[in-house]
């Protein structure tokens, strides 16, 4: 069953200069997919367009079979889309619980407290100090809060934009361990990541984006050999693939 599909998606900040230039792919329910590519390839712009934060100029996005192209981000969340931006992904002036309470508003009233408790149990670092201001959390803890917030509404698809960016190696391991646990719950996971090795270890399938176009789509096993990926990133093979 298809969780998310993109058909010839074009997106960016200026219609005359699209960053995402006609990308198509399908993600099955429960699949864990990573999106790789060199800097400036359009990975973040693409998932932001899917999440309703960047304008799409053409093509279609289907979520669970429903056309959600161009819908506002808050409407997409209500339709089962979870998105964790790379930076500024929590409200630092609100407490941990308040961050979760905002997301919980989308749930039926009787389920809210239970889901917040479940998230605080799932992330003990957060559960031990629910009233603390989120701004006081470390980088890794912030990513956990962002993930907890996105998971709270039990999305069909969870997309994360470079969750390991700017974190120390120890925190990166912590974040990927969290993502592994999330993936094991059956959530469809789409991960944009620069940490290629960690992303390949976590996911089943990799998409490689080069210059706004899909240059590769296949199982992660094929990419563990860094040479192939290097060629894709550096251009030779990417040029052939895009052509």
């Amino acid at each position: 069953m298809t969780a998310l599909s993109l058909a010839d998606l074009q997106a960016g900040y200026d219609p005359d200069l699209p960053i995402v230039k006609g990308v198509s792919f399908t993600v099955k329910k429960g699949e864990a997919v990573c999106i790789l590519g060199p800097n400036g390839a359009g990975k973040s712009t693409m998932i932001k367009a899917v999440a309703g934060l960047v304008r799409s100029f053409g093509g279609q996005v289907h979520l669970g079979g429903r056309d959600v192209t161009g819908l506002a981000s808050h409407v997409l969340v209500r339709n089962g889309m979870g998105f964790v931006p790379q930076t500024e992904n929590i409200f630092t002036r609100l407490s941990i619980t308040e961050n979760l309470q905002i997301a919980a508003q989308l749930l039926p009233r009787q389920d809210r407290a239970g889901r917040i408790e479940a998230m605080l149990d799932m992330f003990p670092d957060l559960g031990s100090r629910p009233r603390e201001l989120a701004g006081a959390l470390s980088g890794g803890q912030r990513q956990m809060l962002a993930a907890a917030r996105a998971l709270l509404t039990e999305p069909q698809v969870l997309m994360l934009d470079e969750p390991s960016a700017g974190l120390s190696p120890k925190l990166v391991a912590q974040v990927f361990d969290t993502l592994r646990r999330i993936s094991q719950t059956g959530v469809t996971l789409i991960l944009v990541e620069q940490n290629v090795r960690a992303a390949l270890a976590l996911t089943d399938r990799a998409l490689v984006l080069v210059d706004g176009k899909l240059a590769h789509d296949g199982p992660t096993d094929a990419l563990h050999d860094g040479k192939f990926l290097g060629e894709l990133f550096l251009g030779n093979r990417a040029d052939e693939a895009i052509r």
Binding site: H74, V77, T92, L94, I102, R149
Partner: protein, 304 residues
């Protein structure tokens, strides 16, 4: 020094504080300095006066003063109507002006200039409809009653202070304890992220206008009841409103109220110490001092 300045300062500070609440909310959530806010006060007062006139025509008894106040039941009823109409005015202005600029992604300075133009248009329209001649909710005279320690106040004035305290408490609880308030604080910090959290940002903006316009209308009625109603009454309050909002810290409701009270008290004491001609300068001096010494205000948070 005459202790009466404390009461005078609290009374004018209440009006400034209520007005500043709307301004600080608009500033923190819509991210622009709204110059039309002063005119919302004046429009609120005139719309309430108009509704009071209609109600008085329908039932003459509503205008008869209710002891110990200078006004009858018609005024609170009319104020309710005035609030509804002021809210409609602000939502209409947002729809035809500010909302369109937001949708186009206009720079803050463009929106500020637009609000400046809208402010002049609103003020001129008031003058055109109602003329520049002062108007009054009531012409009944009230004797100020002694409160002790050399201070005196009329029942109307005490009611205004009490009403202000209740409104500020209610708004503070709304913003800090309710889901609506959490959503407002979230949009204030990062509107894009609020959408990702599932918050309907447009709805939060409408709620902000509704709260701001309601407070502006009530502040306008208070100013009109205690002094007089003039098309320029809101414009004259604009500098104290901005000073109070910035002194309290942008986005903070208790801060705006406390800022209003500090401005009101400073003005009242300045009148006694250096003369009434310096009253208008006080807000400006406080604004400059705050911007130089503590730009985030008393309760504001420093930008990261």
């Amino acid at each position: 020094m005459n202790p009466q300045a404390i009461i005078d300062g609290l009374i004018s500070g209440s009006t400034i504080g209520l007005g500043a609440i709307g301004l600080t909310l608009t500033y923190s959530i819509l991210r622009f300095a709204n110059f039309t806010h002063g005119d919302f006060l004046a429009w609120g007062a005139y719309l309430t006066l108009t509704v009071a006139g209609v109600l008085g025509g329908l039932a003459a008894g509503l205008g008869a003063p209710v002891y110990p106040f200078s006004f009858g039941w018609g005024l609170p009823l009319a104020m309710f109507g005035g609030v509804v109409l002021t809210v409609a005015l602000t939502l209409g202005l947002d729809r035809i002006l500010f909302g369109r600029l937001r949708a186009r992604g206009a720079d803050a300075i463009i929106v500020v200039m637009a609000s400046f133009g809208a402010s002049m248009a609103l003020r001129s329209l008031l003058e055109f409809i109602f003329t520049a001649k002062p108007a009054y909710f009531t012409k009944a005279l009230q004797i100020a009653k002694p409160l002790g320690l050399g201070m005196r106040a009329t029942p109307d004035q005490l009611l205004m202070i009490g009403l202000t305290a209740l409104l500020v408490l209610a708004l503070h609880l709304l913003v800090t304890r309710s889901a609506t308030g959490r959503a407002m604080r979230a949009v204030s910090e990062n509107p894009g992220l609020a959408g990702v959290y599932g918050v309907d940002v447009d709805k939060v903006i409408r709620v902000t206008w509704i709260i701001g316009a309601s407070m502006a209308c009530i502040a306008g009625v208070m100013a009109g009841l205690l002094v007089q109603i003039r098309p320029y009454m809101g414009f004259d309050l604009l500098l104290p409103l901005f000073s109070a909002a910035i002194l309290g810290g942008i986005g903070s409701i208790p801060g705006a109220m406390l800022g209003g009270l500090i401005i009101g008290l400073a003005e009242a004491f300045a009148v006694q110490i250096v003369g009434a001609e310096w009253r208008a300068a006080i807000s400006f001096i406080i604004l400059v001092l705050v911007l130089m010494l503590r730009p985030q205000g008393l309760f504001g948070q420093r930008e990261a």
